[in-house]
Every structure is written in structure tokens, then in C-alpha cells.
């Protein structure tokens, strides 16, 4: 019994060292921009770079659009599948998992073939069209996470009975979806939103090949040309991800569905 506990702690310690040591190393390196002393110069340099602010802002905006359109796509789909097409669930789950199997570069080349300037829908002809394409590609990438988060939240509530209750009270579909279902899967939607946000903020392939000024390509550019700033950016990127994960944990506690027994 005692040896099992020691082994368990050993495994945790090895895991922690494996994850934390490189992070500490990166953080320590990001502070060594000035010779002989620890400073936040690298961070200052990053934050004062106009390109950082532009690309960060652009990616934030793209993340916001991805979340909004992703929610509008995923919530009604997951709802409809649960309510009317339960037999289609395995098929839909398989489709939503495809972005994990198909490399991003294949997806983006597919997009470029379909929506290039000489295609029937030349989205890449304009900046706004390309941005739209980028949002769609981010939606595809975040689909496995968004769908699962929303579907799990829907499993927590009795979607069918709530829908019937609302219908018997005279409600129509938009009312049912936005007033009875959506607020009750909000924790799932927010979980999906934070994961989406973290994915979009670090995504490189799509933005780079579509030639958009996103945060991912900026990270790569800085990494290729500067010494200390990439470490500072890596820490900033980690902080964004952790913040998203922390918020995810927080919202998952707000679910108001735990029934009190009679």
C-alpha cells in the first residue's frame, strides 16, 4: 500500500518535472535579455511592438467570430441531433472528429482549391472574403471540442422533455432554442468557446497559408528573427491558454441543474 503511494507520487513528480522544467527554463530565459540581471525587457519589447498588438487584436477578433458562428452552427445541430436524429449521432460525431484526423494543411489546401479567385465562390479575391474563410477554417478546427462540450452539456439536461414542456406552453422553435435550451447549455458553450479561443490564438497553418496577419504567424516570425522575445511570447501564449482553461473551470461550476431530492 505504502509503496503504491510512493510510486504514484513518483509518477506525478516525473510528470511535473517533464512539464514544468521546460516552462521554468523558458521563463527564466525570457528574463535574461539584459546581461547579468533579470528583467522584463523582452516582455516590454513584445508589448511595445505594433505588430504584436495588430496580430493579437486580429486573432482576438477572428476568435470572437469563430466562437459566435461556431455556437450558431453547433448548438442547433447538437440540439436537433439529440431531439430528432438520435440515430445520426455516431455519424455527426465522426464528422466532428475529422479535423483531428485530417491535417490542417490538407484542409486549408482544400479551401484554397475550392474558394480561390478562379472558383465559383472566389472568397480569396477580397480581404473580407479571406477573413471569412479563415473564420470558417477555425470553426472546422474547433469543431471536435465545441461539439463535444455542447453535446455533453445537453446530456445534462433532458432536452426532449424541456422542448415538449415549452411547446405545450405555446413556445415556437426560436423561443425554445434561445430561451429554454441555450441558457441551460451555456456552460458547455462557454467551455467550447474558451477552447476555441485558445486554439485560434495559437493557430499557424491556416492563417499563414491564407496570408492573414494573425498571432500564430507573428509568433513564428518573431521566433525566427529574435532571441528573447520568442520565450516571452511563449509564456504569454501559455498564460492565454491557462486563463481560458481557468475560465472554463469557473463556468462549469455555474450549472444550475443539480436536482435536490424530495
Amino acid at each position: 500500500m505504502k509503496s503504491t503511494r510512493i510510486l504514484a507520487w513518483l509518477a506525478i513528480a516525473i510528470g511535473a518535472i517533464y512539464f514544468i522544467v521546460p516552462l521554468i527554463g523558458t521563463f527564466e530565459f525570457s528574463l535574461r535579455m539584459r546581461r547579468g540581471e533579470y528583467t522584463f525587457d523582452a516582455y516590454q519589447s513584445v508589448f511595445s511592438d505594433i505588430q504584436f498588438r495588430t496580430t493579437f487584436g486580429f486573432s482576438m477578433l477572428m476568435a470572437l467570430f469563430t466562437i459566435i458562428f461556431g455556437m450558431l452552427l453547433v448548438v442547433p445541430t447538437a440540439y436537433w441531433v439529440r431531439l430528432r436524429l438520435p440515430r445520426m449521432r455516431p455519424v455527426i460525431e465522426f464528422i466532428t472528429l475529422l479535423p483531428l484526423v485530417i491535417p490542417a494543411i490538407v484542409i486549408v489546401f482544400g479551401y484554397l482549391r475550392l474558394y480561390n479567385s478562379s472558383s465559383f465562390l472566389p472568397l480569396t479575391n477580397s480581404t473580407s472574403g479571406t477573413n471569412m474563410l479563415l473564420v470558417f477554417s477555425y470553426m472546422t478546427l474547433s469543431l471536435p471540442y465545441m461539439y463535444r462540450a455542447v453535446d455533453t452539456a445537453m446530456r445534462m439536461i433532458d432536452v426532449g422533455t424541456l422542448t415538449e414542456a415549452a411547446e405545450s406552453l405555446g413556445a415556437k422553435w426560436p423561443t425554445i432554442l434561445f430561451r429554454c435550451i441555450f441558457p441551460n447549455v451555456m456552460s458547455g458553450v462557454l467551455s467550447g468557446a474558451f477552447i476555441t479561443f485558445a486554439i485560434v490564438m495559437g493557430e499557424f497553418t491556416m492563417a499563414s497559408l491564407l496570408n492573414r496577419p494573425a498571432f500564430g504567424p507573428y509568433l513564428q516570425l518573431v521566433g525566427a528573427n529574435k532571441a528573447y522575445e520568442p520565450s516571452a511570447l511563449a509564456i504569454i501564449a501559455f498564460a492565454i491558454t491557462w486563463l481560458s482553461m481557468g475560465l472554463l473551470q469557473l463556468v462549469s461550476r455555474f450549472q444550475k441543474t443539480a436536482p435536490v431530492k424530495a
Partner: protein, 353 residues
Amino acid sequence: MSFLSLSHIQKSFGPVQVVSDFNMEIEKGEFVSFLGPSGCGKTTVLRMIAGFETPSGGTITVAGKNQAGLKPNQRNIGMVFQAYALFPNMNVTDNVAFGLKVAGRPKEEIDARVKEMLGLIKLEHLADRFPYQMSGGQQQRVALARALAPKPQVLLLDEPLSALDAKIRVSLREEIRMIQQQLGITTVFVTHDQEEALSISDRIVVMNAGCADQIGAPAEIYNRPATRFVASFVGTLNLIEAKVVDPAANRIAIGDQGITLREPLGAVKAGDTVSLALRPEAGSIAEGAKGDTALTGEVVSSNFLGSVIRTRMRVGPSVISFDMFNNPGLVPPTAGETVTLRFVASDLLVIRD
């Protein structure tokens, strides 16, 4: 013309016929219970009235209006579900007000109606609570208030008490009946609990395999079961096999003991076997027990059930149960003892299916 009419209703799910030729006329303000075991089609009929299922055949009319083609949200039929189905994101007030808000009623009217409904279910003090902050009984009362708030023409209750514990079930069913009578609302109640159905209904429909086996007042269903299924499903019943001795004289034999029935035996001949039904409470072995008929047998067992003691005795090939009210001085018969059960011959019913 009746208020809610179900005429030749049928429902099939693929090759499976769930409801076949169901007919029922329900008067305005009547409380009707659909009683039957799981899978008998009672909830399916209820869901067809609500509009959640489309009948494969037949017509449903409410206040003379054919409901075919009307969506559930166009029917003005309130429904209470077994699983409460309160909206978890809304507090009690918002839940009760939901139907009125959807109907676009003025705010003053909504506020007044919500207050009235909460008063009706005696939960004014919980107006700001969320469903997860309430007990099952409280949630179901809110669900009832929510269903009643938009003043539906018909109220449907789909096993609303099944998820509650025994004590709350009894008090809530009385409350439901009281509210129903107070509002005079036509109500259809689905249950598999015979005690529930018997205690609160004006009429009961006993359903079996998608058909209505018997429709009648609770006393009629209990005392005069029309079929073997109704007899066995409603209450505890002794089903006794007997041999016809003299059909003209209604004379039968249980084992080697002869009995003359009050009810005519019908088209049977001497030597045929008939099924008879006798309620456990219809007979007694007490000294001076009333009854024009007696059966003597050997006690198999005696079980203490709280308010009654149920004794099983063997008579010929049949085992008959009978109940005695418990009292501290009562000495129950012991296994192997010979006892004589007395009852009125008219309590012995001939089961004809």
C-alpha cells in the same frame, strides 16, 4: 357532445401497433385516469392529445375542434411531466410566467396570474427559487402551476407523481384533485398506480395492449371488473378455477365444495371450467361473519401487512387470499389450521374473457 373526444385512435411505430381503436368521450371538467402497466399505450394516447405524436388513424377533437394538423404549441393544452421539466435557468416566477410571456400577455396580467397560481399551489414564499433549490414535490407543484397559468382547455398529467416518495405522492395527488375541482379543468391523468387512479378520478380507463379494457367509475372498475386483466390489475384479486355443476341453477364446485352463484353463468355446460374472482376483503373467518356462502380450507400462510393480516388458504386446486383488519387482540390463523371463509355469493364474480 363531449368536450374531449378520441375516436378510433390508432398508433403504430413501424410494424408495432401501440394503440388500436381507442375510443373515449370526456366531459368538460371531468378527471379521467388512464391506468395500465408499462407499454400498454396510455402515455402514447396522452402524447397524441398533446400533439407530440401523430395518430396513425382516428380523430381527436377538443371543444368540437379537430386537432389534426395542429402543432403542440397551437393546441392550448397544458402538460405536466413525470420529470418535472422545469426550465433550470428560470426561477419559479419565470417558469410559471413562461406560457403567458410566450402568449404576449401584458406585464400586469402576467404578474397577477403568477401570483394567483403560486397562491393556488401555496408556494408564494419560493417565488425566487430556482428548480435545483427545491424538492421534487415542490418542483412538481410549480410544474402544475406553470401548466395551468395560460388557462389551458385540457390538462394532461403524465405520471406526475411517479418520481416522488410515498408520503408526498399521497398529499400531492389530493392537492391536484382539489385544484382540478376548484378550476373545473378537464384533466387526463396517466398512471400505473391503481391506488392513485382509484382515489382521484371521476372515471378510469384501464388500458391493456393498446386498447381500453374497461372504462368506468373507480368503484365500478374495482367492484365489477369486466375482464380478467382488469380484475388482476386493479387491486388484489383471487382468481379461482371452478367446475360447472349445473348451469341452469348457476351451481359450480370449487374443489369438492359446491356454491350457487347469483350471477348467471351464461353459455356453459356441466363439466366446463369457469374463472371466478373474489376480492380478499370480501370474506372473513371471524366468528359471526356475515355471508350466505362458505368455503372451508387449510391455511397456507398468514402475513402481517400493517393495517391488515392477509391469510392464504387452499380450497381444492385454488389458493384464496383474504384480509382481516388488524387489531391488538387478533390471533391470526396458523399454517395447517382448517378455517371457514364466509362471504356473500354476489361478491363472487364470473370472469368472462
